[in-house]
């Protein structure tokens, strides 16, 4: 259980009160709940409804204790201690003991006792406490109340009302923590039951947490239903691979297959919560994996032995030494990203490496080098709790970093933190965080930030308060000048600046040097001392390390030989590419990249699943998914969270090992490539302490083309992402795919209230249902990568001008 962190300075000695529990006197802070005092003393009081992160409700009455001077037993979970209070628990008070046994008998009256078919059996607080605090027999002889079982409260969450003890943990979680009060206690008396409104399922992004905190088996998931018993499972603490929030999870594996994942306790990051993507999206770990290395022969990929594939890859890469590029994607562990960064420079002799398989820009690369890479921890989640104001720039936390959303929501509601969101859409997530909406055209964020810096005196004053935080989201990479303006605003006001990428591996890859121009630890690749430091650890000549390198667009241009775009670069062809877990469709110019991948003379892919890259690769190596390897992720704060392999004895090999084997075949000194040695090297290198490149100062692009509509877009939490495949129940709880517009815009375009719209560019169109919402005028919002709404595929992204027409084509 999480105990809220309290620094000693926060409790003045005068605020301590003396209480006696079971005859033992203790001094505790005033206002502590009796049940917490007993917990700290090691006295266990039974409980169901009590949860340290939820408000007390005293619904289950299992924790009744005797307080001297009170005629009746009192609930320990809802009574705060006062000075001189004398408490007697079931250990010393017959009254408390009888009361607890009586409550347990009541709770079991209508409980079906179907433990053999219940998923909670074996880890059930009701089972355990019926044994420790209940009587051996029941005096109830009548017919038990029955309900239809189970019913769906959402596609994923099943509710068995017979088992429920009405503790209200799920309803309180939904209301207080997630802000999705779709679960409610209905009816009264014996008929009391948890339920949802008709036709309004519990489609919260955080719904899975209710299963975990349910103290009985009333809430279960479709995915884990009947899959295992606790004694079957090998549990490993892990870090979530889905986003950069950095949640601690517990992964439960049965016979080499993941059966479920639970939120694990990290008070500094996710507390005891996580999102449904982290909890339920793991089917990809066992479905559709590549089994063996593949080598292309006569135009067809055929299975090959490891030595053969290594030999082919090594010869091809060695032949293109100095004319090669590396795309790593944002999903690698920190260690594997480091292996790619080192392999690129040492074995392939190139600095052309980019981890950003998404909308990216040179300005962003410069911003990351100056303000993010290799920086120490911070701002942190705790800083969000304490901040006077948090400014969100192009970041929708509920979709892009759900734990930031939970933190901000609590900070706003409990501590009055002011949250301001600069966004084209007023979302439900903003309302749940009590955030102030600063409307701004998509693509106009840079201008808006500059206007704040120049004109808005009270905003500047708010940001100048100590502890103020600015969080910029990943889509700002696609808005020229936005990151420059954010960095400038932060440095002029003293506010702390946090960059929140979406993918779990991005910050780690950045720190590991998987970006052209940066060596590991945030070292500038053109700084002589930085080069010396890295060369010494890698055992190479500093002069052999490539300096700059091309990123993103120019890398693709170099492959295609498109010199008009890449004219600033010297003419260097790319003759070989090494590609890790990259979805081509995530790239801003997906068609160009697709063409580049088939054009490049030699392509090596390291992949877990077949995708567009493996389809055209010359050599494919199967690699381990995150659950099969040890490693670490660095979350958006810069906090590194190591984990060990959850699936033991898997046959797969991590990327780092594969690269080491290729390097061996190339006769390049690389090292073993295992996690321990890669980590040791990274620790030896440490973070860069020297001078950093200057922050970018890109001017905002002038807004163009009146008469068309600006497109606002970001990825929803639950969308058509590759790692969410194979889990239809989870997908069914996703938000609907629809276009949002203000009524004013819809009217000016001649669109009706209902019906659908067609959003089109020169490259294609999307057809979506239209919903009128709070969107800044002249703008349409669509989900970026949902089923039926692939924005990048029509050549658009956040800020693009599009045409919107009514109705179906």
């Amino acid at each position: 259980m999480t105990i809220a962190p309290q620094s000693p300075t926060e409790v003045a000695p005068t605020d301590l009160v003396t209480v006696s529990v079971d005859g033992i006197e203790v001094r505790v802070p005033k206002g502590t709940l009796v049940i917490r005092v007993a917990e700290l003393m090691g006295i266990e009081i039974p409980r169901f409804c009590d949860h340290p992160l939820l408000d007390p409700v005293a619904a289950c009455r299992a924790c009744l204790i005797e307080i001297e001077g009170q005629p009746k037993p009192q609930p320990a979970c809802a009574i705060a201690v006062t000075d001189g209070m004398v408490v007697r628990t079931q250990r010393t008070s017959p009254m408390a003991d009888t009361a607890q046994e009586g409550v347990m008998e009541f709770l079991l009256l209508n409980h079906p006792l179907d433990c053999p078919v219940c998923d909670k059996g074996g880890e059930c607080p009701l089972q355990n406490q019926a044994m420790t605090a209940g009587r051996g027999t029941s005096r109830f002889e009548e017919e038990k109340r029955t309900f239809e079982k189970p019913i769906n409260v959402s596609a994923q969450i099943l509710l068995d009302r017979e088992r429920c003890v009405s503790c209200a943990r799920c309803t309180r979680f939904a209301d207080q923590i997630a802000g999705d009060p779709m679960l409610e206690l209905l009816e009264r008396g014996a008929k009391q039951q948890v339920g949802t409104a008709e036709d309004e399922p519990f489609d919260s992004y955080f719904s899975g947490n209710t299963i975990q905190i349910c103290p009985v088996g009333a809430l279960t998931s479709s995915l884990y239903r009947f899959r295992a018993r606790p004694f079957d499972l090998v549990s490993t603490p892990t870090t979530c691979e889905h986003c950069a929030s950095g949640c601690s999870l517990r992964t439960d594996v049965r016979r080499g297959v993941i059966t479920r994942r639970l939120a694990w306790d990290d008070p500094e990051v996710n507390e005891e919560w996580n999102c449904d993507k982290g909890r339920f999206a793991f089917v990809y770990t066992y479905e559709g994996r590549i089994a063996s290395p593949l080598v292309r022969e006569n135009g067809e990929l055929r299975p090959a032995s490891w030595p053969e594939a290594l030999d082919v890859a090594a010869r091809g890469l060695a032949a293109a030494r100095g004319r090669a590029g590396v795309l790593t994607g944002g999903r690698l562990t920190r260690e594997d990203a480091y292996a790619y960064a080192k392999f690129a420079r040492v074995a392939m002799g190139t600095g052309d490496i980019d981890f950003r398989a998404r909308v990216a820009s040179d300005e962003e690369a410069q911003f990351l080098a100056s303000s993010v890479a290799g920086m120490p921890l911070g701002p942190t989640y705790a800083d969000l709790d304490r901040a006077p104001v948090v400014l969100l720039v192009g970041l929708e936390p509920e979709d892009e970093s759900p734990i930031i959303f939970l933190r901000l929501r609590r900070a706003a509601q409990k501590k009055g933190v002011r949250i301001v969101s600069l966004s084209p859409v007023r979302t439900r997530g903003m309302d749940k965080m009590d955030a102030q909406w600063w409307a701004c055209q998509p693509g106009g964020e840079a201008v808006a930030l500059r206007q704040i810096a120049e004109n808005s005196a009270d905003t500047l004053a708010a940001l100048r308060q100590p502890g103020a935080v600015i969080l910029v989201g990943e889509r700002m990479a696609g808005v020229p000048g936005a990151l420059s303006a954010a960095a400038e605003l932060a440095s002029s006001t003293g506010a702390r600046l946090g960059w929140v990428p979406r993918r779990a591996g991005e910050r780690g890859a950045l720190d590991a040097g998987a970006l052209a121009g940066l060596l590991p630890g945030g070292r500038p690749a053109d700084d002589p001392r930085a080069r010396e430091e890295v060369a010494a650890v890698w055992g190479v000549e500093a002069s052999s390390l490539p300096t700059g390198g091309r990123v993103g667009q120019s890398l693709v241009d170099a492959i295609l030989g498109d010199t008009s775009r890449a004219e600033r670069e010297e003419e260097r062809h790319i003759d070989a590419l090494l590609v890790a877990g990259v979805e081509v469709a995530d790239h801003e110019r997906a068609e160009d990249l697709r063409r580049a991948l088939s054009d490049v003379p030699f392509l090596v892919a390291l992949s877990t699943h077949h995708n567009d890259v493996t389809e055209v690769a010359d050599v494919v190596f199967p690699v381990a998914v995150v659950a099969e390897k040890a490693g670490s992720f660095t979350d958006w704060e810069g906090r590194t969270k190591p984990f060990s392999a959850a699936i033991h004895g898997a046959q797969s090999v991590a990327d780092g090992r594969v690269l080491a084997m290729i390097a061996d075949s190339m006769d390049v000194t690389f090292g073993a490539g295992d996690v321990a040695s890669l980590r040791a090297e990274m620790d030896r290198l440490g973070m860069w302490t020297g001078a950093r490149p200057a922050a970018p100062s890109v001017a905002p692009a002038a807004s163009d083309a009146s008469g068309t509509v600006a497109l606002a877009t970001w990825r929803l939490l639950l969308d058509a992402g590759a790692l969410q495949e194979g889990e239809p129940h989870l997908a069914a709880t996703a938000r609907p795919t629809e276009a949002l517009m203000s009524s004013e815009t819809a009217r000016s375009l001649g669109l009706g209230q209902a019906g659908s719209v067609t959003v089109s560019t020169d490259h294609g169109s999307l057809e979506l249902p239209l919903r009128i919402a709070d969107v800044v005028d002249g703008t349409v919002w669509v989900p970026m990568t949902s089923e039926g709404s692939r924005v990048l595929a029509i050549g658009a992204s956040h800020g693009t001008r599009v045409r919107v027409t009514g109705g179906t084509a």
């Binding site: 053999p116 078919v117 059996g121 074996g122 009947f226 018993r229 004694f231």
Partner: protein, 197 residues
């Protein structure tokens, strides 16, 4: 009386034995003459309800109780299309490893539905290890007259509680599977498939 020489004395035992009752049991020729005691712990059996549905609900309590880790159970949901047991849950995979089993009987004590019992069959030997891991099809009780091989629906109008209360005494025509039922075919032992059991 003078002592006989030791060599002759030794034959005394031999001659005396020739007139005693023979204790050797003629196995396997006369195995039936010496049946095991009724409570002998022999091979397990997965029982059926009177209409042929399986009693096993896949709860894994047998596997939990097993001190030798000889039992593997994987459960699954019954569906309208494929129902193997009354209620929500059935045992999809059921294996007992007779290389490990010590025949202690804790599993049958743990079984909440009396699905698992022990027969008196003790002839458990084979020439390879794999065949000594008994699958569900090897362990299921034979179909008696009046039983329909699952999957099929419950007796119309009943719930699993009626099964547990003993109110279901046989199958009814409505339970006959409609059309081809490939699912059960795969799960049955050959004798059942060919209608010999």
């Amino acid at each position: 009386m003078p002592e006989l020489p030791p060599a002759v004395r030794g034959f005394g035992v031999t001659f005396a034995t020739m007139f005693k009752k023979v204790v050797t049991e003629e196995y396997p020729e006369q195995a039936d003459r010496y049946p095991p005691k009724p409570r002998f712990h022999g091979r397990h059996q997965l029982n059926r309800w009177a209409d042929g549905l399986e009693k096993c609900i896949g709860c894994e309590l047998c596997a939990w109780a097993c001190p030798a880790d000889a039992i593997l159970v994987e459960a699954d949901s019954n569906t309208e299309e494929a129902r193997f047991s009354p209620g929500e849950r059935y045992g999809r995979v059921y294996q007992i490893n007779y290389l490990r089993c010590i025949f202690c009987g804790l599993c049958i004590e743990a079984c909440p539905t009396r699905a698992l019992t022990m027969t008196n069959v003790y002839e458990l030997a084979d020439d390879n290890r794999a065949d000594l891991i008994y699958e569900k099809k090897d362990l299921l009780a034979p179909l008696l007259p009046g039983m329909i091989p699952p999957p099929h629906r419950m007796v119309p109008g009943t719930t699993e509680k009626d099964y547990y209360a003993g109110k279901v005494t046989g199958s009814v025509p409505e339970q006959e599977p409609e059309g081809d039922s490939e699912i059960w075919y795969e799960t049955q032992e050959p004798a059942v498939r060919e209608g010999r059991a």
